[in-house]
């Protein structure tokens, strides 16, 4: 038996061919593509199913997604220092304000969006465009608990001993706690009343969990009531979990999810095509349908009966928050939450 000998020249040739083909493949691919940061889970799946094919069909542009939560996008863009790992951000209001403060966006020219006229007023500004709305309220299991009326019920029996809560790490957690604080005399910048009230019932609270684990905790019956958004409620219902959404008496909370061009992006043209595709009526309609359950922002979309509002204008009545005031206080609130709830 003879052994095949591999010469140094052969190794170098194979390495050169491999590297060369990778480089060629990249440049050929990059001509018509956009790399977008995307929330993992429902968002990523829905965008892969509906936005990517629509973008390819309308503009012959490939959509590549980098699954990242909003906070991770800011951290990565900041660490990259002008060489962004993606072309487009998708963010909630808190991280959006942080990104503006830290100059992570290119200036946005909304006139480049063909579908801009189909959005309600104020949905695009100098920094980006709104692509979805989120409505936050109370999700509860109607088979285990009576229907709660408002935020204060969360801290009363029989609800409190089945309550699952999260802290200030997420947008929905932060705005819900602010709304609870407001019912006890607090405000957008004063959540002290929440801490006073939660301290009285802390030992009874069923779960204080990581935001990502809350749907699993609800599904497993670890908690039967929680503050959450309509999309999570619809997703859980799609998995046959007993859950109903309740708009609190004082009003639900609305916030918008926006998209932005990353500073230093080389794909400006394709990024605008991507945004325009996302806000187009057919794509927004597809994103609203189960199992995606997004709240659309395009006026041409006929709203599903499962949504908590009859028209997009109704959302102007919902509670909104000024994140430029909240962000500077958030670190202190997180610290306080850790100290109050830890054993």
């Amino acid at each position: 038996m003879t052994h095949a000998r591999v010469t140094r020249r052969q190794v170098l040739t194979v390495a050169a061919v491999t590297l060369g083909s990778l480089t060629l493949g990249r440049s050929a691919h990059a001509k018509g593509s956009v790399t977008a940061a995307m929330y993992p889970g429902t968002w990523e799946e829905a965008y892969r199913a509906h936005v990517a094919p629509a973008l390819k069909k309308a503009h012959d542009v490939d959509l590549e997604m980098t699954p990242l939560f909003a906070v991770d996008q800011i951290a990565k863009a900041q660490a990259a220092r002008g060489a962004p790992p993606f072309d487009a951000f998708v963010l909630d209001p808190g991280p959006r304000v942080t990104a503006i403060d830290r100059a992570l966006f290119e200036k946005f020219d909304s006139k480049r969006l063909g579908n801009l006229g189909r959005l309600p007023a104020g949905m695009a500004d100098d920094w980006g465009v709104t692509v979805a709305a989120q409505v936050v309220g109370i999700g509860y299991n109607p088979k285990k608990l009576p229907r709660p009326k408002g935020w204060t019920d969360l801290l009363k029996e029989p609800w409190v001993s089945r309550l699952g809560m999260t802290g200030f790490q997420t947008t929905f957690g932060t705005v819900s706690i602010i709304e609870i604080a407001k019912q006890f005399g607090g405000s957008e910048t004063n959540v002290e009343p929440f801490f006073v009230e939660i301290k009285k019932v802390l030992s009874k609270v069923a779960a204080i969990g990581a935001p990502a684990s809350m749907p699993a905790l609800f599904q497993q019956g670890q908690c039967d009531i929680t503050y959450t958004n309509t999309q999570t409620v619809a997703t859980l219902r799609g998995r046959d979990v007993d859950i109903e959404f309740v708009k609190p008496e004082s009003g639900a909370v609305a916030f918008y999810t926006t998209m932005h061009v990353a500073k230093g992006s080389k794909e400006l043209e394709n990024v605008y095509k991507y945004f325009d595709t996302v806000i187009s009526a057919p794509v927004q309609t597809a994103l609203m349908a189960p199992p995606n359950n997004f709240i659309p922002v395009n006026r041409d979309v006929k709203l599903s009966r499962d949504l908590p509002m009859a028209s997009l204008d109704e959302m102007t009545k919902y509670a909104r928050h000024d994140w430029s005031k909240i962000n500077p206080l958030r670190a202190g609130w997180i610290e306080r939450f850790n100290k109050e709830v830890s054993k």
Partner: protein, 281 residues
């Protein structure tokens, strides 16, 4: 006289050494440098974040809890893992292969999947609680999730391979005639275990304990998903400061504190291992 490395030998280690320098040493130096800034925007040098972090009694509670979690997990894995290793030692080749497969099995699934599976097991309507209620051992479901003992139970399973793999590797190289000789000289099974098997397996046990301690104290996903917000450990503080409020100097101070705490814990385990070995011999 110490043998000198020939050039060809140290050249072989060069790629790994360069990778370590680029991906461990440089980031570590950056981490130390960032922690030496007083403000979130990393512009003013100063130790304000260090004094804020270490001056808060809550930080010391979190450090203590983190080290305690590591110690509990090490104790639980040893308590369950060592007898299993003894079973492995006395088993035939076929059973040894089966045990090794069972030990490696958890490594074949992602730690995230294993962690979420523990929610199903430890939950209010989970397997353990259903069994407890069915047997009438408790009037209401036990609270296992978001408690320290629940987290230790989960980490014990998650980290078990890290203890067993080095332990089994050392045990499988042990000369069986030594135990036979001990028995032939009249030693009881317990005496053979304490004077022969245990001392000879100590290097593997110590290595396993170090790995379990380092891994469980830094297991952010398991700690946060199973422990929730009620149990605060150093990795959670690092995540909050680096990714939620973007205070990187404070996050760096917390990360270095974790590094030192884990390092001291590992060093303590190594020292205990060395002393026990000296005592046993």
């Amino acid at each position: 006289m110490r043998e000198r490395l020939r050039p060809a030998e140290w050249q072989l280690a060069l790629p790994l050494a360069l990778a370590y320098a680029a991906f461990f040493l440089v980031p570590l130096i950056l981490l130390i440098a960032v922690s030496g800034f007083a403000d979130e925007t990393i512009t003013t040098p100063g130790l304000a974040q260090w004094s804020k972090f270490l001056g808060d009694p809550f930080t010391w509670k979190v450090i203590f809890d983190t080290v305690k979690l590591g110690a509990y997990t090490v104790a639980a894995t040893v308590l369950i893992g060592y007898p299993l290793a003894l079973v492995y030692l006395g088993a035939g080749p076929r059973w040894q292969r089966a045990i090794l497969f069972v030990v490696i099995l958890p490594l074949l699934t992602s730690v995230v999947v294993r962690t979420f599976a523990w929610i199903v097991i430890l939950g209010r309507e989970g397997v353990i609680n259903q069994t407890v209620l069915w047997l009438g051992l408790a009037p209401a479901p036990l609270r296992l999730l978001q408690t320290e003992h629940g987290l230790v139970i989960a980490l014990t399973q998650i980290e078990m391979p890290l203890l067993l793999l080095p332990l089994l590797s050392v045990m499988s190289r042990m000369d069986p005639s030594l135990r036979d000789a001990s028995a032939a000289l009249g030693a009881s099974k317990w005496r053979t275990l304490s004077r022969v098997t245990l001392p000879l397996s100590l290097p593997g046990l110590v290595a396993g304990c170090m790995l379990v301690f380092a891994s469980s104290t830094t297991a952010f996903i398991s700690q946060f998903v199973i422990g929730g917000n009620r149990l605060v450990y150093l990795p959670l503080l690092i995540w909050q400061q680096s990714l939620v409020v973007y205070n990187w100097p404070l996050a760096s101070a917390a990360a270095l504190t974790l590094l030192v705490s884990v390092g001291l814990g590992v060093a303590a385990i190594a020292t205990v291992g060395r002393r026990s070995r000296a005592y046993a011999i």
